[in-house]
Symmetry: D2
């Protein structure tokens, strides 16, 4: 019988003994901590913790553990989340016509680098259907005609539910999602922006970068929120460029860092390594 592990994340007021109480909870239930990480936001006196533990010998069901945890959480005013390796997350990938981020996700998934399954791919154009098909992943085209965004998002939500998607990855999806759509997946919609946020928000960031004569270009993955390109940042990367690079070459170079920051964010999310507090993320590496 194979090992089952669980991942607990929590945050609460920073009082004495949290590590002790959490480790006692796991120890007394027969679990074994594989890794535990903490962080304190000192300005706010807020304590964050992620514990990855072996729960295969605990002799308690997932439901029982969740119940026990609820009691501990109540005692300390913790916000908690508990996931199990036996309940693998499922992701939906939204795309348009660019394929580099999609290929990166499909390949990394195939290599076993992403701790989640790709439930489906949705494109507002049909162009990338063969790519998904090559990896035997269901693909759906949901066009977004002028004036048809509401209907398109309703159709997408339906597809996400039907395929049991837990989170959504915008892999260079070129449509702006409505706040109402994003509200269905709070801190579970991951976007990649092809610029070094907060510089170069909005459209054509590589053109902006060229005009400013920057010597580094950047890419940023973040949780999408109602405020466009301003959600909590998960990963960023920059790449050296110089005066010889045209806008088109910046776009080409940018592909490498876009796919990199997006897949790092997806992997961290799938592993329950990200906690959001206010505008910032705590990413336990």
């Amino acid at each position: 019988m194979s090992q089952e592990t669980a991942t607990l994340t929590l945050h609460c007021e920073d009082v004495k003994g949290i590590v002790y109480h959490v480790s006692r909870f796991i120890f007394e239930n027969g679990g074994n901590i594989i890794n535990a990480q903490q962080h304190a936001e000192t300005l706010d006196s807020r304590f964050f913790m992620r514990v990855h533990f072996d729960c295969s010998g605990m002799g308690r069901s997932r439901g029982e553990l969740r119940g026990d945890l609820a009691k501990l959480a109540a005692e300390f005013g913790m916000e908690t989340s508990l996931s199990f390796s036996g309940e693998r997350k499922r992701m939906a990938v939204l795309v348009s016509k660019y394929d580099h981020c999609l290929y990166d996700l499909l390949l990394r998934h195939q290599y076993g680098e992403i701790n989640a399954d790709i439930a489906l791919v949705i494109g507002n154009h049909p162009d990338l259907e063969p790519v998904a098909a090559g990896f035997r992943v269901p693909f759906f085209t949901v066009p977004v005609p002028p004036g048809g965004k509401e209907a398109a998002e309703a159709r997408m939500l339906e597809l996400l539910r039907a395929h049991h998607a837990d989170f959504v990855v915008l892999a260079r999806y070129m449509q702006i999602l409505t706040p109402s759509f994003i509200d269905h997946y709070p801190h579970r919609v991951i976007n990649v922006h092809h610029g070094f946020l907060p510089a170069f928000k909005g459209a054509k960031p590589y053109h902006q970068a060229y005009e400013h004569g920057v010597k580094l270009i950047g890419a940023t993955s973040h949780y999408a929120t109602a405020d466009l390109d301003m959600g909590p940042i998960i990963e960023q990367e920059t790449l050296r460029v110089n005066h010889t690079h045209s806008v088109e070459e910046l776009v080409a170079l940018g592909r490498d860092i876009e796919r990199k920051v997006l897949s790092l964010a997806v992997r961290a999310h799938a592993d329950d390594r990200i906690m959001v507090y206010r505008r910032r993320t705590i990413v336990f590496r």
Copy 2:
């Protein structure tokens, strides 16, 4: 007898034969090209060139060469600049209380990494006088009391002239220079900004970076212009940070990239490797 070399930089309309005519000019005068670099801004049809050549066997004075070059420049509508290894540039360094950029410049100068001499250091505070003294560089304190900026800048200009400074390096100098001061040294005042421009302009960039929860901090060296923090960018660098870093730690980490981008800019300027065109720099590496 030691070798003398010259560095010619020029830009002009991008017509056929520029490389040929320039290399002929040098060849027929008995010079020998050590390195030549070009760049064409295709949108503007503008051609840029930097030629580093051995002129020790040319049998012509610097003045004669400058005269000959003027004729070539007139023929092709070139803007040119010609410098000689025997006429070493002299830099003035302006500082306040932070010493990390000053130390970096003094040490790199001592190691022979900077192709210029440090003529003097001016501080608006006396704190760094011992640092300059340790390297036997003249130091002058020019305080900038409220309402006294005009007089202070007049005094500084006087010192720069008296010490034959060719260019000015703002090594974390915490005063804003007036456009009138900068006009005395067009594209010859090099500043370091402790943020990844054009993000985080102005005051307290590390605080801004912290608030935004960025995962990289940056530093930027650029030519100072009348428009604060918006002059042509010369060098940029970023450094990975995460949620564990306080603002104070961002400040500490930032020192390493501030000194790095500043000294890279100073070295490139001293070597006549930088050409400014519109808002952008061409930096020939």
Copy 3:
């Protein structure tokens, strides 16, 4: 009518006037230099040059230009090479079972980042046939059974000739090629080694890296020579790792830098940017 460009690379003794004579040759034939780069190996007094020029208005055939160049080369004792944008290079890719480098080459080719065509893919296993098929590239399986290397290489050489391959890319091809095979493509077989050469030569470099407790892993692309893993280095990259990474994770992380250094080498080779001199490469960027 579209523009044709040519790329001339040459090396010779470092005497006065090479840039002048080469630029005159191009100017007087009606060509226009787009970019020219030089390098002098001072220890050997050897001069290297790469000139990329517009030859569409030259009114001379490729053959005539090659003839003219031969005269110039004879005069200065130059070794030269001249290629034309209208004669696009063709590459053969050799693979085994790992697909990450192959995907990277196929995708970058599709994005127009590689200035060459993929003539064919040869695998000693059939596993990657569907990958090549997905990009409509011919795939051939040439197994290498024990004792059958000679026959296999003969078959491969036949395929390379039949598909007019100009150079060969070993995209994690797990067989060692014989010197005799490599001699057919001198400095035209590009290999990727999954270690930071010259450390960790030979088999299982990630295991070696783990055992040594290194804090960076590396990958190296180089021209294959008779001396295994010792041919002239083209590109190298490193990646930060730490004590938490198992050998398996090092292998996974290494994929990103392997594909990166290999595709950088392939692009540089396709653009005639690489010159080999003794054990070292000059790579004009």
Copy 4:
């Protein structure tokens, strides 16, 4: 009254409940965990832990805490180490003539980046005495004449003891220390090697790198052991170079990464972040 913190590091067999027992030990004594990190070497079933905790409210002396810890350690077969913020470490710096690493340590110490005091500097040449003097650090010249190594090391050990040095930093010290000297400070002598170990061991690593035509140069900090340049690696860094760089330029560029990896190692050692196990280091960041 100011806060006192303690840092506990330990390793033992990887059995269930270590985190629980350690956190209980701290909790029941009235301490408060600020940060705890663990690592398991799965091949060896070995568990490593570092706990940084506030002990100001514990009402127990350092000696009592050390006694209590000894009992816990005995129960679980732990090797432990416990240090207190009130017992600041003291470092000795050994130098020859190169000053870049020494300056870096002195400046970072001055900025408060290093959690240790600089007790003294020893040079086998007197050249750097003024540098130490500028920072008001005692400097001693201990020459190492041919045949006089034994006497010199005896004198150095005497100085180290007299100045209560806890660990030794070789800041480009150009003498090879004897195993007997190193045995006095096991895993407490930190060296910087100017190459990417295990490549380029021994003398003139930049010459070796040049000869091999590498495209990256490296620097490595490690604990010195009897086996030259083979002690456990703490930090490594690489820097991109190319064919244009002479050996002298590699040496100059290398200074930046040498000082960087050395000061990172010193800071980690001072913070009790490094544990050595077999040939590898666990560095808790």
